[in-house]
Symmetry: C2
Subunit: 698 residues, 2 copies
């Protein structure tokens, strides 16, 4: 466990200094300022005393036990220091020093050496090239970090890959008067990893919500495994930076070309139930609500206001975020009518009027909280100078102490004049926002998390089909590789589908042009003729596909046409005669293998939709039935599958089954780098749903 890192009883600072503008000075000062209770051992070969503490020439010269050593010496000195730490029995180190993996080969070797020493000596490492850790636990506060922000105790823990981003979030929370629980920025993460820290905080009762900043994931699988066990119990709010950066990625396939720079990390967040943000302000404001309020049981919000405008804004934002404006019960409305001012609005949003005082606010809040149709309450309060505002604040505090539903306040006021009022509400644990927009966003996040937690998405049942032929599929793939090809021929790809019982349009494959006419009977007219040569990838563009051939005469013309191009009659070229499907709704399923992540599966509407609107959903393989259903419902064009203009819906069960079979295929065969089933024709009738074209790269 990471107790020695986050809750050390004694700390050495190796590279401590008496010069105030150095990190070696700053860390000791920070430990003093936060009131670290155990011994602090500055290590410095020259000074006998540092910042009032007795200093030691080396870590081994320290007499007492050392749980944690904070290392700020030159990078090349770190291995020797690590050896000494091991000898001394130090349990954990924070290596601030840069000049490791991030600078290339020399640094990588140095980092490996340091990690090796740590393993051998039983010393856990945070870093190198990192900021450090903080912990506000009253019995053992720690500030082993060179930043400057004063922190107070709270329930939000922050884990940031970039110290810069982590510190901005920390500062913002501090400025908002919100405490944090623990903080870590572990830089190169050579030893102690992000999943390990998440796991540790999962077991920390005073961490109620985790803010996580990610730039890139070293080991997505481990991350997903850990995070998805945590999120049903404790919310993780994630922020990813580098969204528009163009990372290296394959673009040979449709699926690949539709991926954005952040698709992979977004998919990871989704897979393990992390709530995703792309704005530091939003993640801070929402974290406050998670830290202080219960999770709503449903989407219906009750809104109270004492002036029109903010009530309207709250309504706009909540509806746009997918919440419902609760329809109040008859009982609630009657109660409000008889206890509020006669001109008050007793439907939702409830306008208690500018003249409303403590009594009116109390009645409104209590009525909404006790209405079974209301899941959460936002209180808007513009502080009129002629109202007993502190009285209103005291009522909010009194009621919130017993409230079982989340309560968020928006206090629009001059913060200096009404400091007392604000302080009373803040001390109640009800988050106080400046603007209705912000409170609404926080409530939307809280509600979404509640839905995630109560859904079965956390529990992913694996679906397995037993009727598939893995052996035959692997053979096709290995034959392709052996022959030095990257792409399966169309015939091979169709065989793979057959092996996984993924239905494709009826077809016959012949090796000679002259065999075509006699082969068409099985397929029937109208038909499609495709020239199947391994080097022909984009068939339509290369004029290797002939659609909608309706008669024998037309077929003959096509055959004549082909026979005139010698390149279309090479050895190894085959001809695929396929039934021509019309009138179906086209979808596309794709899969792309991402290094260290596995397959990312894409689903979207085919044809124009995917090309023009890029209306697609991604998820990380393997997929559960619920994930598949969620992907299908999440695309904008879902209505087309459900049927527009009186059309019947396509057979959704069959679509789900096809996606699950593709998922299993990719899980069984990680050698498949890319797969595009494009298009798949869907119909209301299960048995007509078929893949029309497929491309597989290995």
């Amino acid at each position: 466990m990471l107790d020695k890192l986050f809750s050390p009883k004694s700390i050495a600072v190796i590279g401590a200094s008496n010069r105030p503008l150095t990190i070696g000075y700053r860390i000791i000062q920070n430990l003093k300022d936060i009131g670290f209770k155990g011994p602090i051992y500055p290590v410095n070969p020259k000074d006998p005393e540092i910042n009032g503490f007795k200093a030691y020439p080396s870590i081994t010269a320290v007499q007492g036990n050392v749980d944690l050593a904070h290392i700020v010496v030159k990078n090349t000195m770190v291995p020797q220091i690590m050896e000494e730490c091991g000898k001394k029995g130090v349990k954990a180190v924070i290596i601030n020093t840069a000049g490791f993996k991030e600078i290339g080969s020399d640094g990588i070797a140095l980092e490996n050496q340091v990690v090796e020493i740590g393993r051998r000596q039983g010393v856990r490492i945070c870093g190198p090239n990192c900021q450090g850790v903080m912990n506000t636990e009253e019995s053992n506060p720690v500030y082993a970090n060179f930043t400057y922000t004063r922190i107070k105790s709270g329930f939000i823990s922050i884990l940031a890959q970039s110290g810069g981003v982590g510190e901005v979030i920390n500062q913002r929370l501090s400025e908002l008067g919100i405490g944090i629980r623990m903080y870590a920025s572990n830089g190169n993460a050579a030893d102690v990893s992000i999943p390990e820290i998440l796991q540790y905080w999962a077991g920390d009762d005073k961490t109620r919500v985790i803010i996580l900043h990610i730039e890139s994931l070293a080991n997505p699988h481990e991350f997903i495994e850990v995070a998805k066990r945590i999120t049903p119990l404790k919310p993780i709010l994630g922020i990813k930076t580098g969204r528009t950066e163009l990372g290296a990625r394959a673009v040979a396939s449709h699926t690949g070309s539709l991926m954005k720079a952040d698709t992979a990390v977004e998919s990871v967040f989704k897979k393990c139930g992390i709530i995703s943000f792309n704005n530091q302000e939003d993640i801070c404001q929402c974290a406050i609500a998670f830290a202080q309020q219960p999770i709503p049981q449903g989407r219906s919000v009750g809104i109270i206001t004492n002036t029109g405008g903010p009530g309207i804004i709250t309504t706009d934002e909540c509806i746009e975020g997918g919440l419902n404006i609760a329809e109040l019960s008859e009982e609630t409305r009657t109660h409000l009518k008889s206890h509020l001012f006669p001109e008050a609005t007793v439907s939702n949003p409830v306008d208690v009027l500018a003249t409303a005082g403590p009594k009116e606010y109390a009645i409104a809040i209590e009525s909404l909280l006790s209405d079974p149709k209301v899941d959460s309450v936002i209180i808007n309060f513009i502080t009129p100078f002629f109202v007993d505002c502190e009285g209103v604040a005291r009522e909010i505090k009194r009621i919130s102490a017993e409230a079982k539903k989340p309560l968020l306040a928006v206090v629009m006021t001059d913060k200096k004049q009404w400091a007392g009022t604000l302080e009373i509400i803040k001390s109640s644990g009800v988050p106080v926002y400046d603007l209705p927009e912000t409170a609404s966003k926080a409530l939307v996040a809280l509600t979404r998390y509640g839905e995630y937690r109560s859904s079965e998405l956390g529990v992913r049942s694996e679906v397995m089909f037993n009727d598939v032929n893995i052996a035959e599929t692997r053979k096709i793939i290995s034959d392709t590789k052996k022959s030095g090809r990257e792409f399966l021929s169309l015939g091979e790809a169709l065989a793979v589908l057959y092996n996984y019982r993924i239905p494709s349009a009826k077809f016959v494959l012949v090796e000679r042009l002259e065999d075509i006419p006699s082969a068409v009977n099985y397929v029937g007219f109208p038909l499609v003729l495709k020239v199947d040569a391994p080097e022909i990838i984009h068939k339509t563009e290369e004029k290797a596909v002939f659609l909608n051939i309706t008669t024998k005469e037309a077929l003959k013309d096509v055959i004549d046409n082909i026979s005139k191009k010698p390149s279309r009659c090479d050895i190894g070229t085959r001809y695929l005669i396929q039934e021509y499907l019309t009138g179906g709704r086209e979808v596309i399923i794709g899969g792309n293998y991402i290094e260290s992540l596995g397959h990312l599966i894409m689903f979207g509407l085919g044809g124009i939709f995917v090309e023009v609107i890029k209306d697609v959903a991604f998820a990380i393989n393997p997929l559960s039935r619920l994930e598949v259903e969620e992907m299908i419902h999440s695309i904008k064009g879902f209505k087309i599958l459900a049927g527009v203009r009186g059309q019947k819906p396509v057979d959704m069960d069959k679509l789900v089954e096809i996606m699950l079979r593709v998922s299993q295929l990719l899980n069984d065969c990680p050698e498949i780098k890319e797969i595009d089933l494009n298009p798949i024709m869907l119909y209301p009738e299960k048995e007509r749903c078929s893949v029309v074209d497929v491309r597989i790269r290995v």
Copy 2:
């Protein structure tokens, strides 16, 4: 002009009071606090002295001149007070009192009476049911408003329909330390209107940017006329509340059903170049940049940072907002390389490193400002404790004094510890943001405004076609109305298109079923047969349209089919034989008449796109060529018109012409309540582009 309202030399407060928790007390106190320089005359029949000022029993008892009277008496007393004000020669009044138009018929009568008195006596009225005005002009400061927020002098003027929203914006700016110029919330706007105030501020040099809050517009045309003359010279930032509210609106047409609650106001903002926001925080933060910085000449931003994370976030946000990350010139990069630290990143974003001090920051900022490829600069600054941060701030201040390009700073710091650093930058006029996200949003708004101002959109050339037949069109419309019908028959609607030279698919109209076979020759096969009876509106659904009839035999079957339904052969029913167009790209043009606004014209892709994706653009009639082109380019499906998969583009000129002709038709005939041209088939060939179906409601 409104000088007497915003810059009165003397003010009376009618209904002044000595009780501190009353509005009558508060206003006098506010005038004292802001240091109003002229005489203040409290009017109160009982007290001889109010808050240290001699009080008068009535306004007529005041000896000196009174420019402005602030009225806070009971609503029923207002008419009498107005008469007295007129007698006294008061030039303007602010009526705080509620209980007028907003309470229904009695209130409307009272308001009309008050307005009548004002007109007769030459007294301008702000309100009733309003907050009042503020002005920070040093030579004549005014705080004629009952709110509490302390304001300081600045360049942002705020005009809010809702006093609640206006006050929240005012408070937020105050909290951010940003001054305002003038403020007005004019409530019921019985006399002094929003356009009038905008016009007044347009002429006020110290108002550099206007924040405008709108709930609904009383007179959109006047508003547009005024605002569109202002925006090319002075930016107006608009916020509309009530976006998700469902207002009353016609939904018989496609166009109507695609309108959202805020489509009309959004279209008004767009028509007159108002930059639209839907978040109070964003509008405040962006206004600061408009108030303090020049407008960029282009989209290319230069980014400086001293730590990686914030640089990445700035990049993400700028790109997502449509800006370019400037590619620095070779010269700039060479210069940076030789003057920054060796490990610094000299491409954009420029990472000067955490150790960068005043010298390095100065070099980076000056280099980017002088690079012709850079239009604007964002400076990210995390304040390291080991750096001379105040020195960096002084360099920013020094450079900004001469800068011709906008410069925005993001200072991520502990505000108490680095208060001095922040103060230096703020005093330079460079806006200081907490987060890179916020600065980026502000720069995006600044850049968009620059593009608007330099485009010709402000200058709307009217396009007029002289080949149209207005008289014949008006006759068709008036005949329809005379016959008590709401909808034109299809034949009539097609005739309207013909009168406006809007091309439609070739057709023949016959009155008897038996005339059909001999009429088809003109049209030819394949054809469409439509039963044209006034009561048949949704033709497809009512089985009154028969598509793709390819042979004489098929036509005969259809005719037999129709003849069996007596209701399809009523007197007045006609039969339209139309050529059946295939292979074109479908678009839809619609128009909806909105009370007091005129026609809102819609453009979108037809068929599935409009139904499923609701991918449409709206603009207020009349349309200029540039507006039409902007509408066409703004839809997501534009690529389809431009051609996908090697398709040729449709004839855009013809599409523009059709839209302009529809615009002219609606302008000429305001009696048309709704028009749907759906679908219009477009082709690469100009002469093939034709309207297939049309519906007109009058």
